[in-house]
Symmetry: D3
Subunit: 185 residues, 6 copies
């Protein structure tokens, strides 16, 4: 046990279906101590479905994978492709960076960062998703490497990002890192 | 759509069942853009269940709620009740604190902290869970308040913890915060 | 075929459950030419149910049987128990009687009838229900017997009533009969 | 709630499937006060089905829609296309018209009608079906318009037909109307 | 895979339910090469069930275990408790013994056996059931031990019985053994 | 009742599916006294299935029909096609023949038989299968005909074979017959 049957309208591609059975299995196993061997999840496609007085001819679109959205955004930022990066952001996007610095635009962020280091890139250790219904929050942590303003290199400095994704767009990014722990006074 | 039927052995308390339907709904809605109104999840209790050649008389135990485990641990630490705090830890527990400081015991942590501040407590904004099958990772963020070693108070300093929970025990804690951003040089 | 599984929250009494499996079987058999022997309907009670972001603890109330509501109303009218009869009526109740006479109150009806016959009662042959979602329309037909204004008795005069029931209350009654066919000129 | 799963052999066209989910939803909602938003019905096609010791390769044929059968019959009658009209009738067909006039053949009916009006047609307000298992009873009501024998026109005269349909053929028609209420003495 | 859901009316005792899930798992695994670990069978009790136009209030009785019926019969025969043995037999009971000897009554059998040995008993190695719908055929094999008519003992002589059971009663017994192979000429 | 739903990965041919619904129906009916008319079994093909942490793309292969394997083996033996006969045998194959003669190879068997009769063939009355999970045991009985060593013909001599089949290969054959009952001393 448990045996989970997910009834869907037909038309979802295998990737979406695999993602769904895997996530549902994880959700179930977060609640009870059932091993993988005893956890069964399958998808059943119906031929006709009616709810709320309507017969539906197709299901709602799959979401893009939130952690892929975040990866693409972070990659675009690292490559300073602000047009591409902006395309992943919700109009209400807001961010908060170390020291409690609140910003709303990518150009603000670029300006602020230029006062802290002259170059930076991220090594990602892990992307982790928290599925919260209307939003998926992506956490990624790893280490930073780059060059201080004075020209000295740094590396291996810990960071973590918390990124909210709603309907495939990023609504909020919060960043913590150890740069201040390592910065020369 | 979707309609999710979870078949369980009988005996789970309502809290566990509610947690399961809520989490499964969230997992499903993280994959496809279905509104709450169109997301149906129910639990069906079987009277007899057989898998792997065995008839099972009861299901596996529910896990404690991982974010509750983490809250209890953090509360015990704040109250310096190390015996209670230790009871939430897995024997393989490890932690990493700002600056990349790796430690394995709570007494190490206490010693290290004493060199950074004389008092500290946490205001939690949010606990968020990432369900990963064998582990649930709990993220909590908020602000720190306390007293610097020199006696000056501080407050509103951002932090985030990442805590791995396996089988109800904490196996790893990673901490980031902005203390170094605010510490007087 | 077909096999119909109805998943309900627990708590419905056997009468309601029997009514549901019988009606669903009839609905299915109105669409395809399947014999009773090949028509299976069962009710499955879930232990937990979640939709629209809410976990429900009990199902919606059963409706009273619409044809029983109509029978009770007609019986009360025949017994001139207008208070009881009124209790079955929706505030928006309207009626239309032979000749296209539109009325809204029972006292109007009584007054109108007194100009047509001095006594009347109904022999019911059949009550039939049309299930239309928000409303159930009850048709009953049979024969009238009574006394003309001039004192002569009549009997065996055909009638049919069409009565709309919503949420257990009658919203409309339409009546046809052959009284005018038989009335002495 | 409720969630209704209808298991069928494959091969039914979408119209038949839509009709089935709609009717089953109506049947369910006639029993309990559940709103459309909380009423889910879907059809599941099996790949193999066995009952009564036999594996079935296809389901029973869909019935024609009973109210469409009745409409077609009434239309053919109005156009005096008796051959077509007859094709909708069961060999045991019987009818009863105002005044309690029992007839069995369409030519009888034509003869009888010719003594009552010289022309007639129907404005339909509503067709309503009562699903009763082996039979579907169709009720249609509306108004009559036409010409009296003396040449005067009439219109807006209320009527209701009750028509029994079994296996796609009409077995009985009962008619009530207000013609006698309006007929000049 | 596979996942088998058996829907039953409530009221079957756990033994019956266990027997059913075990046998269904065996039936499924006789068809496809699925390991026990991947074979899931569960029983779901409905609260209301309707088929063939009837709502059923309880399921059909469980059969006695056919191999237990056969064991009890053979034990009664060995103890020469013919009244008890007879109670397991269907009125149409027939048997066929080595050499093609057809008999219908237990007393015939006793008479025939007395010409072959003066005492006999059976060591059972295995009871095996063949589930055939209206009948279950029980095969049991093992060895015979006893005393020849001349007084010499014998043992370890192979036998097999084939016994048909219908509705809990034995309708036929066929016996093969190696007595003739061992009998002194 | 009962209604059995078998959920399978897609891809099984109709023969395999028919065999499965028939055998499962038999297994169910061996446990409770339900008539064929009340026994419903269907197969539902899923679009995605996950168990034990893996998403499966296809089901396990169907087994060959065990009684067909046994028939083919016995036919090959009768035709003295030992190469073909051997192809049906598991490497651990063992057999036991009347008189308790244990052998492991077909050539041993041929040698032993030549001392008992000069020709033999089987008339099969019935093949019956006992489904036991990892093995299916096939029982076949009927009559032997052939020629004694001395040249005299025989016929109508009863036999029964018990043959174990695992993963499509025969692991054991046990044979009983009445030859010794009929053999001239």
């Amino acid at each position: 046990m448990p045996v989970v049957s997910i009834t869907l309208l037909p038309g979802y591609d295998p990737d979406t279906q695999h993602r769904m059975v895997n996530r549902v299995a994880n959700a179930v196993r977060s609640v009870i101590a059932t091993p993988e061997a005893g956890t069964t999840v399958f998808i059943n496609e119906v031929s006709t479905y009616r709810r709320d007085g309507k017969v539906f001819s197709g299901g709602r679109a799959p979401h893009p994978v939130a952690s892929e959205v975040v990866k693409s955004f972070l990659q675009a930022m690292q490559e300073r492709n602000l047009t591409l990066a902006q395309s992943f952001l919700h109009p209400d996007f807001a961010m908060c960076f170390p020291g409690g610095v609140h910003m709303r635009t990518l150009s603000e962020l670029i300006g602020w960062a230029q006062q802290r280091y002259s170059a930076i890139s991220k090594n990602y250790e892990q992307f982790e998703e928290s599925w919260q219904g209307d939003a998926t929050v992506v956490f990624c942590h790893g280490t930073l490497q780059g060059t201080w303003l004075q020209g000295e290199p740094f590396e291996g400095i810990r960071f973590i990002d918390r990124v909210e994704v709603r309907d495939g767009l990023i609504t909020r990014q919060d960043v913590w890192n150890d740069l201040a722990e390592h910065r020369k006074a």
